[in-house]
Symmetry: none
Subunit: 214 residues, 4 copies
Amino acid sequence: MKKLISTKDAIFAAAVSLFNDHGFDGTSVRDIAGKADVNPATISYYFKGKQGLLEACFTHFFEPYLRFLEEETAALPYIDAEVCLKRAVYKLLKFQSENHQLTRFIWREVSIDSQVVREIIASYLMKERFYLKCLFEKGMMDHSFKKQPVNFLIIQLKSMLTFPFLNSQQLREVWQLFPQEFYFVDHYYQQIDQWIRLMLVEQRNEPFEKEMLV
Amino acid sequence: MKKLISTKDAIFAAAVSLFNDHGFDGTSVRDIAGKADVNPATISYYFKGKQGLLEACFTHFFEPYLRFLEEETAALPYIDAEVCLKRAVYKLLKFQSENHQLTRFIWREVSIDSQVVREIIASYLMKERFYLKCLFEKGMMDHSFKKQPVNFLIIQLKSMLTFPFLNSQQLREVWQLFPQEFYFVDHYYQQIDQWIRLMLVEQRNEPFEKEMLV
Amino acid sequence: MKKLISTKDAIFAAAVSLFNDHGFDGTSVRDIAGKADVNPATISYYFKGKQGLLEACFTHFFEPYLRFLEEETAALPYIDAEVCLKRAVYKLLKFQSENHQLTRFIWREVSIDSQVVREIIASYLMKERFYLKCLFEKGMMDHSFKKQPVNFLIIQLKSMLTFPFLNSQQLREVWQLFPQEFYFVDHYYQQIDQWIRLMLVEQRNEPFEKEMLV
Amino acid sequence: MKKLISTKDAIFAAAVSLFNDHGFDGTSVRDIAGKADVNPATISYYFKGKQGLLEACFTHFFEPYLRFLEEETAALPYIDAEVCLKRAVYKLLKFQSENHQLTRFIWREVSIDSQVVREIIASYLMKERFYLKCLFEKGMMDHSFKKQPVNFLIIQLKSMLTFPFLNSQQLREVWQLFPQEFYFVDHYYQQIDQWIRLMLVEQRNEPFEKEMLV
DNA sequence: GATGAATGAGATTTCATTCAT
DNA sequence: TATGAATGAAATCTCATTCAT
């Protein structure tokens, strides 16, 4: 008689939920075991301790996350950079919304120095930076995007991509916005779409025309 | 013989530093006591336990933070909204940069649900939203800013204001940017200034074309 | 397709090796299972738990050990006691050297009170004492050995018989002697042989002088 | 109101007693805490964990143990080697008898490889060897002792010095001897005294007689 | 014959806190 | 003002064992 959900998956789900609510250090394996309805020892059995659970979280998040970026970067030779960038943005928003608990936990924990997983994280984030840079720079080379330094733009984009999920509690309580609901993705995507248009694509009136007039 | 720095301040400074590095739950009072070179009992003596230390952190951060916003909101009747908003942005960036450890810790901890300080935080954040809304809406009323829904704009601004400090580790390692250094504030301010211009102030092509028609 | 070494033997060998290195309580069944490359459950299957493994160790050691003593005691009516004693000594040294890991573990564990195997051990040791006493007392009755109290002599002999194997680590590190190597047995046997001669056999000067006087 | 016995000493005494009975790995800190009538946390407070307790045991044993040997070695230039050796033997027997629990535990644990204290032990035992070698070789240089290789003699002596304490349980049950009682020291000392006389001092008959014949 | 999943019990250690001083 | 001693509670992890397969 097989179980509908494997013990290992049940533990992982419980862990994500509790890590999201109380943070990694604020969650005990007993809490997780309790929520997953298993014996605490079972967690060590499957994940080799709490640390292993943390590493599993990072893998489960970053593997798909980076795949989305990689897909669009791979499409750059064939498809317009603006389209690729926007598709990447949409996929990342959707993925994060669908995994909002894991997402919030990951982005929060990423900002803690002490975890032994630092090197793993650093390598993931370097890859992320690489893909984003490709997307921006290809657009500028093709004159789809205005020429400008990319670093701060990427940071701006990244901040917008993570903020609603990292601060979902705040969005709910203060703004009555619900990042985990499907329509939020579409609304928020419109915002970033507009940002891309204004910051990256559209030619400004003044300097260009003024010069012409002179 | 007076001490150069009071015991209480030494404890607070040690706590901020360690909370920043390892999170609230990841830091023990013994660690703090060790770093401040006092007996663990002294912490309870001054702050009534670890929780009191956490509350002190929130107070130390949000009191000045909200005062800056309040100052500029108070100036709205006399000074142009765009100026007020930009001054507020600059002050907040500077304050956060100067208190980058505390800032990082606060924004991270804010995203944890379980802290007993939830209600305190919620009230702080409601005030923040109120001030920011005033700044944006006054600008629109005065036609300094383009008319548009403000919620998502404020979220975008907030995300930009917090991201570099919350992810300072990432900025350092991945982008070689150092949010705690004084020149970062100026650079980053330029970025947000540009964002304000493009997103809030500048007339897009369409209206320009309308003018042309006239 | 038969295995070269049976699963049960593999487990036993792994157990002896680990018990020798880390002691009984310092060894886990998982360690043993790991070393024997079997599943921990298999150990319970063959030995009915860790305790069973311990009992197997005692049996494997004391059955041959006592047999050697018994053989020589049985020969006493027909062969000179000095010869029997020396042959027993040699056999015991050889046996212990060939099973040095098991030997070390046994003699160490014997000195722990708490094992549930206490009664078994006590009975083994009583038998050992019986055989040794026979060997000594027969020698005295036959005037092969000088008449003297035997208790302390047996203890001296026993201490010499066990020390090098119980403290093999020490002999290796401090004395560069290697009790598990075959030539050690011969060298060490010479020592005990000399001890037997001086302590048991040889007439001291005094009695000799007395005889002279007569 | 001062306590008659300090908490730390009470813990140490309880630990020695239990380590003696059940071995280091066979004793839990809870057992120790229970016997010392303190909270288990107090043990970590004073000894920094179980390992610290083990190290304290080694120090408490070897410091006086080696001091006795060192004292007699230091006296070698002024006093006859035979006297020094015998005095050392007596002191060591007495010290071990008076601390029979600690002694038994130490000699047993010394024969386990895995303890992190290996290097400490090794260095203690090297010193012990050095002192014993001095005592034997000085005696031979002065012609108090017969010339002969010392290694095996020292091992014989060492085995006699430790056996009764390491196997006290056995001595009690099998031989009705009680190594912790004060008169045991004297009896056993006589044995070793005789051993020294026969093995080290006394000229054998044969050469003597041969000389006479010549 | 042999095992993978799962566990109850218990091990050690850490934690925040208290209290007499 | 500040602390050393001591602790109850809880955290993580390990252990030997069982049982269905």
